[in-house]
């Protein structure tokens, strides 16, 4: 309920302040288990991807985010869990007794949709870094779940890391054909990376330095 009200406001803000140019929205998975992987530039990424979904589906869509950031205080943890619906993942944990992806497995087991940012950090806005392999372990465990790449541009310009001032820009959201697990981790990661490369060269973006 709280989440729905929050996302009604997010949808209005996204429509008015940003404005999205979405290509191939029909490729976004309507039902789980499925994994949406996107490049990460801004805190807006998760909210914009969630805002693309119908309100009734939101409870079944779970963004994965860093536990050290989003669960760092009780208030943040409560908002992350109840409003954003975040699944926490420990980054760079020394503790090897627990699988850090356990929460993600559970979501997929329940037939929900996972949103994952395999770059692992927002990093420098509008620059893509290497993809972390975590997503391949999820795909291996759930080979029937399609892995849908989504390339976004402009959200890092609107709200880059370290800034609190939202500056309106039109943003592009390019959804790609899903990648499926073929049994080989390296090959899977290369294919995913290539999918992102193809999406990011679909349009010439205005330089921003």
């Amino acid at each position: 309920m709280l989440q729905k009200i929050f996302y009604i406001f997010v949808k209005i803000a996204v429509l008015f302040l940003l404005g999205l140019n979405v290509r191939r929205k029909e490729l976004l998975p309507a039902n789980g288990p499925a994994i949406i992987v996107a490049n990460h530039n801004s805190h807006l990424d998760t909210m914009v991807l969630m805002a693309l979904m119908p309100l009734s589906k939101l409870k079944d869509i779970k963004p994965v985010a860093a536990a050290d950031y989003f669960f760092s205080s009780p208030l943040k943890a409560w908002l992350s869990e109840h409003v954003l619906g975040i699944i926490p993942v420990e980054r760079g944990s020394k503790d090897r007794t627990n699988d850090p992806l356990e929460g993600c497995y559970e979501v997929l087991r329940q037939g929900k949709v996972l949103i994952l940012f395999p770059e692992g950090s927002r990093g420098e806005p509008e620059q893509m870094t290497d993809l972390k392999k975590g997503v391949s372990f999820l795909a291996e465990r759930f080979p029937d779940a399609p892995v849908v790449p989504v390339f976004t541009h402009g959200l890092g310009k609107a709200l880059p890391k370290g800034s609190f001032l939202l500056v309106p820009f039109f943003c592009d959201i390019f959804v790609g054909e899903p990648v499926t697990w073929d049994g080989d981790r390296t090959h899977f990661m290369i294919e995913l990376k290539e999918r992102f490369n193809a999406l990011s060269t679909e349009k010439t973006f205005a330089p921003w330095e």
Binding site: F169, A206, P207
Partner: protein, 308 residues
């Protein structure tokens, strides 16, 4: 219910739209070619005309807000399409904030401030905010492009809104709204007729280096059609006598053409086909209002000089 002249003008516009839609419908049924873009474009016209009709009928204030929104969308499109510097995020933010201020001067009928706020105060203020970032690499390009965009998307378009609050005169009972309708209708109609004449009879390219599809036949045909239409409609919704109606009937199509190719030059420089994807079939909002960025200020000052 008594229909005023302005209502008849709106009914006339809807009549033209229905007629045009019928022609498009017949063409798309008969033609073997894929006409989906033309159909999409026509559907978008219905939406745009509907938005304007509603805002016209509700109140001037609502119409001013609609124009402010158009400026906002156009400026956002412009900033999204040109190269910008990360350091200038704050400067862009201030540029956006100038939109409500500029349209407040319109609402407030404060002509002096309306006329100087962007060309003087924002012109001086934006470079100052930009230099505070202490990044001089690309400074000239940044302040140059920002100010041009602000003039084009906000200042120019706000001139159309300022027409709205011009009062009725003895010879023109419709006042400002009539003048705005005259400007919008002729500007947009001219776009369509130049395109149509060009499609039908276009042979000789007029400015191939900028816009390879524009032809002399399209230009002359469009100007002539718009000129005739201006003479026919001016007595209805404007205070113009025949000479001024004729002058406006030339000013609008010629300035509209220049505005159109100016935005084309910008797009060519940036290597993009459309300024955006906001209006299905048309492209971005700047693609739709490119002519208006030239016709609005010129027509406003023409009217103000001779009649107000």
């Amino acid at each position: 219910m008594n229909l005023l002249t302005i209502h008849w003008a709106l009914i006339g516009i809807w009549g033209v739209l229905c007629l045009a839609s019928f022609i498009v419908f017949v063409i798309s049924k008969r033609s073997a070619k894929n006409m989906s873009e033309l159909v999409q474009r026509t559907v978008s016209w219905w939406v745009m005309v509907a938005i304007f009709t509603v805002s016209f009928l509700v109140s001037n204030t609502v119409s001013i807000i609609v124009f402010a929104l158009i400026s906002f969308l156009a400026l956002k499109e412009y900033f999204s399409m040109i190269p910008t510097r990360r350091a200038d995020r704050r400067v862009l933010f201030w540029a956006y904030l100038s939109i409500p201020v500029q349209y407040f001067w319109v609402y407030d009928n404060y002509y002096g401030m309306f006329a100087v706020f962007i060309p003087v105060y924002m012109f001086l203020f934006l470079p100052f905010v930009s230099l505070l970032t202490q990044q001089t690499v690309g400074f000239l390009r940044a302040v140059g492009t920002l100010n041009w965009g602000l003039m084009l998307c906000v200042f120019s378009i706000s001139n159309a809104a300022f027409l709205l609050i011009l009062p009725a005169t003895e010879t023109n009972s419709t006042g400002g709204p009539g003048l705005l309708l005259f400007l919008l209708f002729l500007t947009q109609f001219n776009d369509v007729t130049q395109y149509t004449w060009g499609k039908l009879f276009g042979r000789h390219k007029i400015i191939p280096g900028v816009s390879p599809n524009k032809t002399w036949e399209g230009f002359v045909g469009g100007v002539a059609t718009t000129f005739v239409l201006a003479l026919l409609t001016a007595p209805l919704v404007t205070p113009f006598d025949m000479i001024h109606a004729a002058a406006a009937g030339l000013l609008i199509p010629v300035a509209g053409f220049v505005g159109d190719v100016t935005v084309s030059a910008l797009k060519r420089d940036l290597g993009v086909k459309d300024t955006g994807s906001l209006i299905p079939g048309h492209g971005g909002i700047l693609d739709r209002i490119d002519s208006l960025t030239y016709t609005a200020p010129l027509f406003f000052h023409f009217t103000r000089y001779f009649y107000y």
